[in-house]
Assembly symmetry: C2
Homo-oligomer: 385 residues x 2
């Protein structure tokens, strides 16, 4: 969908690369420019047996890769020309005067420049420090656990990368109508703070609420993990009164739960009462789960509204028949299953298949030549590689 959109990305790690890749997977041309030898994320774990970074290849699918000596004035001039030509820059590089909106918009006045940074005041922060400050680690994990529990998914980086993609598209929409460029700053800490605010965590705290640590229960509803007879663990979610009524019916507890509601003066059609009495309700349902293996539970829940899923390890995820996934030949790694964009644009035939990440510097010559530069001579001088 984004044919004709061109972006230069000077990036590393997760948020900025994901922002560019999100647009590349929808048809934009994204040129990632790295210093010769690669940026700090080139060896980031997880690694393939070959030693190649699966984070790097995962984050740069479908981009072009150009490598330039950032320390030489001529190299910087090459990056400036690339940026001016594309008209859109996405970066999380800090402390480089020549990559700022101010510097680059002097060459391209209608430049769209999106700078990802740590905090609004310019101080650094990364996903794992932002997460610590935001409050989530102290309400995650078993109720009797006192220490913080860090997340494994860098959720703030992911959200930040997607906000970056939104910001670039919004600015390009305006530019196409008004001719106006944009200077956009996107602090990772603000992404997290805004999300905590949007979900009601900040307002709840401001109004005096103190979020408890409740293990695998869902706050304000009925949802929890249960262990089955075959030791499978499953997550069971009853978001609405209908889900909950189905859960009661399948487990044969409609009568018991109605009686419990009467005894406790509770209304289990309401979220709050299902939540308040979650331990009693879970204790009531647990023996039903403990007496059944996964296939039994699957059969009995089929055709009901109850939301549930078994917990899986990464190598156990069911990937069969998913049209988003394709096979790619990833340079430096080999044959891999890889995801395209989760945005399915309808026409199955036209759905964009996953494209491998480039080799570092793979497109230096092609991109520079298109710009009218003498790639061979620049390479001989060590300005590009």
């Amino acid at each position: 969908m984004l044919e004709g959109l061109r972006i230069v990305e000077i990036s590393s790690f997760v948020a900025a690369p994901l922002g560019g890749m999100t647009l590349a997977q929808l048809g934009a041309e994204v040129v990632r420019v790295d210093p010769v030898g690669g940026a700090a994320d080139l060896g980031r774990w997880p690694l393939a047996p070959s030693g190649a970074s699966l984070l790097w290849t995962g984050m740069n699918k479908g981009k072009k890769s150009v490598t330039v000596d950032f320390r030489s004035p001529e190299g910087r001039e090459v990056v400036t020309r690339l940026a001016a030509d594309a008209g859109i820059v996405l970066t999380n590089a800090v402390g480089r005067d020549w990559l700022t909106h101010e510097a680059l918009s002097a060459v391209r006045p209608d430049l769209i420049h999106l700078q990802i940074e740590g905090r609004h005041d310019g101080t650094p922060a990364v996903d794992y420090t932002v997460n610590a400050e935001l409050g989530f680690p102290l309400v995650t994990g078993p109720a009797d656990h006192a220490a913080p529990v860090n997340h494994v998914l860098p959720a703030w980086d992911v959200a930040c990368g997607l906000y970056a993609a939104v910001g670039l598209l919004a600015a390009e929409r305006r530019r196409s109508r008004t001719g106006e460029g944009a200077r956009i700053r996107l602090p990772l800490h603000d992404v997290a703070l805004a999300t905590a605010g949007n979900l009601g965590f900040l307002a709840e705290a401001q109004l005096g609420g103190r979020r408890p640590r409740i293990g695998n229960h869902l706050y304000g509803g009925f949802a929890r993990d249960f262990t089955l007879a075959d030791d499978t663990r499953i997550m069971v979610v009853a978001l609405t009164g209908r889900h909950f009524a189905d859960l009661c019916r399948v487990t044969g507890h409609t009568g018991t739960v109605a009686e419990l509601a009467r005894l406790l003066n509770a209304d289990f059609a309401a979220d709050g009462d299902r939540y308040r009495h979650r331990e009693a309700l879970a204790a009531l349902f647990a023996p039903w789960f403990a007496g059944r293996a996964l296939p039994d539970v699957e059969r009995e829940f089929t055709g009901t509204s109850v939301l549930w899923a078994p917990y899986r390890r990464f190598h156990e995820i069911d990937l069969t028949g998913n049209p988003m996934l394709g096979e790619i030949d990833q340079p430096g790694v080999g044959r891999l299953r890889a995801p395209a964009s989760p945005l399915d644009t309808g026409d199955r035939a036209a759905r964009r298949a996953p494209v491998p990440a480039p080799r570092l510097g793979e497109h230096t010559d092609a991109v520079l030549t298109r710009l009218g530069l003498d790639a061979g001579s620049l390479r001989a001088k060590g300005v590009v590689a």
Copy 2:
């Protein structure tokens, strides 16, 4: 930036409402259409002392709210006209024939329609079931913990909402160039699967890697929580060799760590060796942290590259001086601090301040009147409210 963009949203809970709000906060007109009496998320926790949902108000800031009787043919006709007029529909409603791309594009051929659903095959899924299936809960939490650890942040819903915003902007860009509408499907499960793939988790598993549960350590690097003399917990992150060298220097362990590297035949300038020997390194640093209170640590880390932050509870988050936050008068709740978009579009004076969520149905009359409908007569018949 999105002035003139108009979206009709038929949504509930987190992903779809966040998608619309993300665009509303950048200037789009987003009309959320709900059934009379509200959708299933109207009472979703957290709640204000007044009983109003802080999730609902948090997710619908800056939108217009219209309520319509979805069960009456006339009500459905009103929604169809709203959708055709706006030209863009965002929904997570399923099982409603009259809200599909097929039905609505019959009235507006260049309609952009984005449907959030559970899985690619149309079966239902929610954040907490998707998360269980994706592998993260079994590698989150203390290393000696056997059970899954659910996340508290609905990270997949957040990512899904932001992908929805990206998808709508990308489709609208194409429509403005080609006149072509779009039918986009966005399965929540695919958002999670794509993200796990993008971050390298799927490739690692496919290539035989088995991600261990490592508590609060960072996989493939050196980062961990430490406890201070005043019982504060802080997260400390050394992403690069420079960060790590600074950490060694500040804690007075440059020599010890060099000697340790020699003894272990390790290269602590490399990510992998810092990770492999993380327990030995953490044990070396721990007494330094245990002997200092927060102000001491803050002073000693200032001016170094070490990334660190104290763990906070939601009510302890430092919100002072953040230009993204503003005060709003939220109907049904009262005076609240609320976030604007984390996308700071540069010109401070023009930065869009946070706008409260509407009261349910607040804009029914105004929006219908603009469409040329007789709101009073429809209200009298119970078609709208």
